[in-house]
């Protein structure tokens, strides 16, 4: 009883702290503005201290909610809707972001965390600009707290408290739920940091070489989280949803994919500004657009305007709030950009069309087109429905037709780009360097055509480009290592190691490219060469799909902590391994859920779903054989390692050198 009383009071404490956090965030946003107009520069320091307080208060609020979930305090409406006393503790904590209110709270919690880190790092690195940066963050925090506290409050109470909770959506009772949303949000919200820097740069006319290094790091961190979040989401969808695929071009997936596309463009074009002092204005535009798309993604998912499997919250008031908030952020940021953008001028010119900076521009063109296409295709059916009442479906078939050629073109750029030097490339030298890799690519494409005769044209092209890019990566690295060995007489292992560590940013990027190549192979294999069969099986029956023979052994009943299940048993006759797909009926849920069972090797996944039984003895079984799916997840891990390698380069940014050079002169 004592514990539950404590829990009751803690929620009120948390609720109070959340309001307080909003007030302090308001101060954080307003103090630098007041400091400017009242000509009291010391007032601006308030926002630095406020940012720490906002994080503390938001954390207390968040922890009180976690406590309410863990102690199953069903007097909290949100806990009662999204949890259950029988839910495993693992999911009780994750249920915090299992619904609308809690996901938004997680959003703002992460935002305050980023703000804290920016404030902490900024005291030494960029103290003059810190108040303005934190002010931008502060207003964003205020905006989101407004939505949380006034329209979707996770602290709301219900009286009388129900004896037990409603249970978490069974689709979400999965380890994927614990990692996917926080990763995605760390990515989404991470782009608010470059956004705050860009706004500050515009308002204070911060010199571009001073902020670019800072934005680069933050953009890379956000991009890394977003990429990880998207791949985790694909992995989760793959084994959870039971249709044998991992990406459905669902509008909610697109909502996370759009910031990813522009974020990828940003990560590349920042390099151009860093190395060649160009594209300043474009980079600021990209930063603002990427963050706007993060907001749009939140709007699309959280307002319920989409008809999609993810829209578990529908409430027009919230939708209107997010729409207005988004419009205000867009209007203010693009307004400032229009008025002040021209002060951020490029300093250097393009020397040749055949240069790395020019290829980066084409990279940006393609990513922008890809993002624009996804944006239009996601919004057009909504707009058409709203304006004329006409309904059309834009689904995977459309997106594959449009996006695959764009991605292939990007693969070509990715293969060639890193070999092309800055400023101007010597064509004959480039040609000789590309000759072998190109030959390998062509040979791969021909092999795909010969060995898998009826194949869609994208198959050989994608495989060929992947191998072309891969051999370029290998040869580039081998050349660097052999040069080092010739100069320093080092043993092979040491030379490899030193080469990578000597230029972490470059090899971090190349590792990411390698991960992309691996993913491209996985997508090609699983997208074009999937085999499937839907059969009705009695115990003892054998089915053969793409050379994999499976014997159905029968079913048995199973009792989980908060569900009942029927478990099928199939033996893979080629290897003797056993697959155990389930059909689960969760408490308080009517429809049965399918739990897939997957036997996975690098070469292929055998993916089995137990469907309904037609008569007493026979069960419908879906069997998919998906080649190379593991490549996708492995590629994701490689990308993550590449990002970590790139971020581990603590070379002092040029900003510091310039500042250090300027100091003695004073």
């Amino acid at each position: 009883m004592l514990a539950s009383n404590l829990s009751l009071n803690l929620v009120e404490l948390g609720h109070f702290c959340a309001y307080l956090a909003m007030m302090v965030a308001l101060l954080q946003g307003a103090a630098p503005i007041a400091a400017h107009y009242l000509r009291q520069p010391r007032l601006a320091q308030l926002s630095v201290n406020a940012s720490a307080a906002v994080f503390m208060l938001t954390t207390i609020g968040g922890l009180s909610l976690v406590h309410a979930f863990v102690t199953s305090n069903f007097s909290v409406q949100y806990v009662a809707t999204n949890s259950n006393s029988l839910l495993p503790i693992f999911y009780k904590v994750a249920a915090l972001w299992g619904g609308h209110e809690g996901s938004l709270y997680l959003w703002v919690w992460i935002l305050t965390l980023y703000t804290l880190i920016v404030g902490w790092r900024g005291r030494k690195q960029y103290p003059e600009h810190l108040p303005a940066i934190l002010a931008v963050q502060g207003w964003l925090i205020v905006g989101f707290f407004g939505l949380i506290l006034f329209l979707s409050n996770p602290f709301d109470r219900v009286f009388p408290a129900p004896p037990d909770g409603n249970d978490l959506n069974p689709l979400l009772q999965d380890p994927g739920m614990v990692f996917h949303p926080p990763m995605l949000y760390l990515g989404y919200v991470g782009f608010s940091v470059p956004f705050a820097f860009a706004m500050t740069a515009l308002i204070t006319r911060w010199r571009s070489e001073l902020w670019i290094g800072l934005i680069r790091r933050w953009a890379l961190i956000a991009w890394g989280f977003l990429t990880t979040g998207i791949i985790l989401g694909g992995w989760w969808a793959y084994y959870e949803l039971g249709w044998g695929g991992y990406w459905a071009w669902d509008p909610v997936e697109n909502a996370s994919f759009m910031p990813w596309l522009l974020g990828t463009a940003l990560v590349h074009s920042i390099t151009v500004q860093d190395h060649r002092r160009m594209l300043h204005t474009w980079n600021i535009f990209l930063v603002i657009s990427t963050f706007s798309l993060s907001l749009l993604g939140t709007f699309l998912v959280r307002s319920g305007v989409l008809s999609s499997v993810h829209a578990f919250a529908v409430d027009p008031g919230r939708g209107a709030y997010i729409l207005v908030f988004m419009t205000v952020v867009l209007a203010i940021s693009f307004g400032i950009f229009m008025v002040k953008g021209r002060y951020q001028q490029a300093e250097e010119a393009i020397t040749s069309f055949m240069s790395r900076e020019s290829l980066f521009v084409w990279n940006n063109v393609l990513f922008t087109v890809a993002c624009g296409s996804v944006l239009l295709a996601t919004l057009y059916p909504l707009a058409l429905d709203a304006l004329s009442g006409q309904k059309i479906t834009v689904a995977a078939q459309y997106f594959n037709a449009v996006m695959v050629p764009l991605f292939l073109a990007l693969m070509l750029l990715m293969a060639v780009g890193p070999l092309v030097p800055w400023r101007k490339a010597k064509l004959d030298r480039l040609r000789s360097r590309l000759l072998w890799p190109f030959g390998i690519g062509i040979a791969t494409a021909v092999a795909v055509i010969l060995f898998f005769p009826p194949v869609h044209w994208t198959g050989p092209v994608a495989a060929g480009l992947a191998l072309f890019a891969f051999s370029n990566l290998v040869i580039d690295f081998a050349r660097a290592v052999s040069q080092r060995r010739a100069q320093l007489q080092e043993p092979l292992g040491r030379a490899c190691y030193k080469t990578v560590l000597g230029n972490r940013r470059h090899y971090g990027g190349m590792t990411v490219h390698f991960g992309i190549v691996i993913i491209a192979l996985g997508l090609t294999g699983s997208g074009l060469f999937r085999s499937e069969a839907t059969v009705s099986m009695a115990p003892g029956d054998v089915v053969e799909v793409a050379g994999e023979r499976l014997r159905f052994e029968g079913v048995r009943d199973l009792q989980g902590t908060n569900y009942q299940a029927i478990q099928g048993r199939l033996t893979l006759l080629n290897s003797g391994r056993v697959l155990l797909p389930e059909r689960r009926l969760y408490m308080r849920q009517q429809a049965p859920m399918t739990e897939t069972s997957i036997d996975s090797t690098m070469a292929r996944d055998v993916y089995v779903v137990l469907a309904e039984s037609s008569d007493r003895n026979k069960w419908a079984v879906h069997v998919y054989v998906n080649p190379l799916v593991r490549f996708i997840w492995s590629g994701g891990i490689i990308i993550l390692l590449g990002i970590l390698l790139s971020l581990s380069s603590f070379r002092r940014p040029r900003a510091d050198k310039v500042a250090a050079a300027a100091r003695p002169a004073r």
Binding site: S307, A349, I350, T351, S373, V394, Y398, V535, G554
Partner: protein
């Protein structure tokens, strides 16, 4: 457990049906094709497709049958005519517009490595010549 393993194969009719159902949207579902949905409507649509295949109808005829009843909404891949035109044109327009902007940007910012030296004025040329003459003598 039975000693003899009976090899079961997929009913070819079922595969034909699924190939068609893949490209039809389950209109009451959220972004799911008929082939993957467990909704009652999807099950009904699947059995209609089965019957129509048995009756010897072609894929196009079956698709049209559903479009007549549910409109273009039922098609997973939007048509290239009517309301779907724009959606197919959009990427093409984007490629042209953004591509042209990218090209224009590169053209505008394109400068040779060093500007070519401006021609010497008559006076300067005379000076240079004079200096050279002096240097020789």
């Amino acid at each position: 457990m039975p000693v003899l393993a009976a090899q079961v194969t997929e009913d070819p009719l079922e595969r034909q049906m699924l190939e068609i159902a893949k490209d039809l949207r389950c209109t009451v579902c959220q972004n799911q094709p008929v082939s993957e949905s467990n909704a009652e409507l999807a099950q009904d649509m699947r059995s209609i497709i089965r019957e129509q295949i048995k009756a010897g109808k072609t894929r196009d005829q079956i698709m049209n049958y559903f479009v007549e009843r549910y409109g273009d909404y039922v098609l997973m891949k939007p048509r290239t005519s009517g309301a779907g035109t724009l959606i197919w044109l959009a990427p093409v327009i984007l490629v042209i517009v953004v591509g042209a902007s990218g090209f224009a940007f590169l053209r505008r910012r394109l400068r040779p490595t060093l500007p070519p030296p401006p021609p010497l004025s008559k006076q300067d040329a005379e000076r240079v010549r004079a200096a050279r003459r002096q240097g020789k003598t």
